[in-house]
């Protein structure tokens, strides 16, 4: 006798998943700090996209009549050593910060997830080789690696993004691999291995969906690190070059004027800080909403 099992799972999982999603959304919105983070991120995105509309004046237009003027109704964040409006430069600076921060993380995720997936799925030699390489890469601290790569590639926004992206890969590979190893042990994944489903199918259909959300959460949490990293590279002269408006480059240019014009040192840093904080709040909120175990 052949038994055709009637599997009630799909319908059930779907509703369970919808329910989980709704619960997660409720947990997220119930957290004022997470919502504040989301708003902060939205605000930075708006600044970056609508910088030309928001900026009172051209961020690169020098005005030698008002050099190093403190914050005033005219220039809300003051002017720099060339008389450029700091507020306008802050708006434009959001562009490179977001580009370098978000794109580098995206780049790292796109490269790292397949690598981690393959290593965790096939294990054995592939895994050993990949993880050894990652161990070696991890032996160089993130910033040292980013500085080194940026120095090799040459100073520019694109290269800084690339350097930060590459520097983030090892961590995300490690996380993905760990999650894949855990997912492999799940009963229904083991079942589909027994069923003789193809490796590609199992990886794409069974493992990837399980792995993706923790990895995305982790990636979200590395965005702020990348944003600060981008600022550091620019500050050190290895990223965005003056006169382009960039928060890190602005701090670098301001170095010798700090005692006369402290606002030049305060505002760009504040912008980096608040942007990173918003992303951190957002990432924490998403993580807690998806995985409520860590919070009461």
């Amino acid at each position: 006798m052949t038994v055709t099992p009637v599997d009630p799972q799909p319908a059930l999982t779907l509703t369970a998943r919808a329910l989980r999603r709704r619960r997660a959304r409720r947990r997220f919105t119930a957290r004022p700090l997470a919502v504040a983070g989301a708003l902060g991120v939205a605000l930075v995105v708006i600044f970056a996209v609508f910088a030309p509309l928001l900026s009172p004046v051209d961020p690169n237009a020098p005005n030698f009549d008002t050099v190093l003027a403190g914050p005033s109704p005219h220039h809300l964040a003051g002017t720099d050593q060339l008389g450029r409006d700091v507020l306008s430069r802050l708006f434009y600076g959001a562009r490179s910060a977001l580009l370098a921060g978000v794109l580098s993380t995206l780049l790292a995720t796109v490269v790292a997830v397949p690598v981690g997936l393959l290593a965790g799925y096939y294990r054995r030699i592939l895994d050993a080789v990949v993880m050894r390489i990652m161990d070696v890469a991890l032996a160089f601290p993130f910033l040292v690696l980013a500085v080194g790569l940026a120095a090799v590639l040459g100073p520019s926004l694109v290269n800084a993004t690339l350097a930060l992206g590459i520097a983030q890969i090892p961590v995300i590979v490690r996380i993905t691999r760990g999650e894949v190893l855990a997912a492999r042990e799940l009963d229904y994944v083991a079942a589909s291995v027994v069923n003789g489903s193809g490796s590609a199918t199992i990886m794409a259909r069974q493992i990837l969906p399980n792995v993706l959300s923790p990895v995305v959460v982790q990636a979200t949490l590395t965005i702020p690190t990348a944003i600060v990293g981008a600022a550091i590279l620019s500050y050190l002269g290895l990223g965005v070059q003056p006169p382009t408006a960039d928060w890190g480059a602005m701090l670098s240019e301001a170095r010798i004027y700090l005692s006369q014009a402290p606002w030049l040192g305060v505002f760009p840093g504040l912008a980096i800080f608040l942007t990173a904080l918003s992303f951190n709040l957002l990432g924490d909120g998403v993580r807690d909403a998806l995985d409520p175990r860590m919070r009461p």
Binding site: L33, R132, I133, D135, V136, A137, L138, A139, F140, P141, F142, L143, V144, V147, G148, A151, V152, G154, P224, V228, A231, I232, Y235, L236, G237, L238, L251, L258, S259, P262, G265, V266, P268, G269, I272, F273, L274, A276, L277, F279, N280, L281, D284, M294, R295, P296
Partner: protein, 318 residues
């Protein structure tokens, strides 16, 4: 147990060996001909060729690497073309400075981070938790170098409480040394405290929810010993494990902080050698960083096996 130790040490050595290749090739990949840099930007082809020959730069990369590694193993990392000093002695001068800075930062990080994490976890969701967690998240988000700049503006330029930047050797004037180190160590330590606080908090939350905590309370122990003896001891096991990974961030922080505060340590040396294309020095300093990182992670792993009895025994065939 012994087998585990052997494997762990062997893996570290292999990683270190591979790291030397990465360092060598990485530095080779930097733009600019090192021979030109070595010849003090001389354009005389004869001079450049002589230098190329002297430093084996005219040989294949593999044999260049062989020369370099062979010498490095004997402690000879070459001479800096700029200062004409042996790289190893430059490093030896810089190491104590950075070690002092990191140790101070570590102490600050632990002294702030662990109690804050415990306090937050004991009353989760209350005002103390929100306060501690919020400050920690801010500490995690704040760019070190900018925090340093702001502190200099505030404490040195404005209030004249501390020296703005610079370094005084500890043997020359311990008090002045400490005063110079205070701000940079605090900036580094604050970032570290944020991470330690978050780790401690989540580990403590997990421990405090465990059955054995209920047992400890059922024994009639005071809440103080329940928290500090039973829960904290278990949490520290987890906190120590993440510490090794944090070291990387700490070293990364050292690079920018030494730059901002003009402290002549390993971090500043890294940047200086990047900008001055001082390749022998760069190779040496990056190799040192990687070796230190690998070593500390090894030590952390070994510590972990000591403080966690579960691991200690599973590896031991008694």
């Amino acid at each position: 147990m012994r087998w585990y130790l052997t494997r762990r040490v062997a893996a570290s050595l292999l990683t270190l060996f591979l790291a030397t290749i990465v360092v060598f090739l990485g530095v080779r990949a930097l733009p600019g001909d090192p021979a030109v840099a070595l010849s003090a930007e001389s354009n005389d082809p004869a001079v450049v060729a002589a230098i190329q020959h002297k430093y084996h730069l005219d040989e294949p990369v593999v044999s260049q690497y062989g020369h370099w590694l062979g010498l490095a193993l004997t402690g000879d990392l070459g001479d800096s073309p700029l200062t004409r000093l042996p790289v190893s002695s430059v490093l030896a001068n810089r190491i104590p400075v950075t070690v002092e800075l990191t140790l101070l930062a570590l102490v600050i990080g632990l002294v702030i981070g662990v109690p804050a994490g415990v306090i937050a976890a004991v009353r989760p969701g209350r005002i103390t938790d929100y306060l501690a967690s919020g400050v920690a998240l801010a500490g995690l988000s704040i760019p070190h170098f900018w925090f340093g700049i702001v502190l200099i503006l505030l404490l040195a330029v404005h209030l004249h409480l501390l020296p703005a930047a610079g370094f005084v050797p500890i043997l020359q004037d311990p008090v002045s040394n400490l005063l110079h180190m205070l701000m940079p160590a605090f900036v580094l330590g604050a970032g570290l405290a944020a991470v330690i606080m978050r780790q401690t908090r989540s580990a403590m939350l997990e421990s405090l929810g465990a059955d054995y905590i209920r047992t400890a309370r059922a024994k009639g122990l005071s809440e103080w010993s329940v928290v500090t003896v039973h829960a904290l001891r278990n949490s520290l096991v987890t906190v120590v494990t993440v510490f090794g990974l944090q070291l990387g961030a700490l070293i990364g922080g050292v690079v920018t902080i030494e730059q901002v505060f003009d402290i002549p340590g390993i971090g500043k040396l890294t940047l200086d050698s990047v900008f001055q294309r001082d390749y022998p020095t760069l190779q040496g300093v990056v190799l040192l960083t990687a070796a230190a990182y690998i070593l500390v992670n090894l030590l952390v792993d070994l510590t972990y096996t000591v403080i966690n009895p579960r691991i200690r025994v599973t590896g031991a065939p008694t």
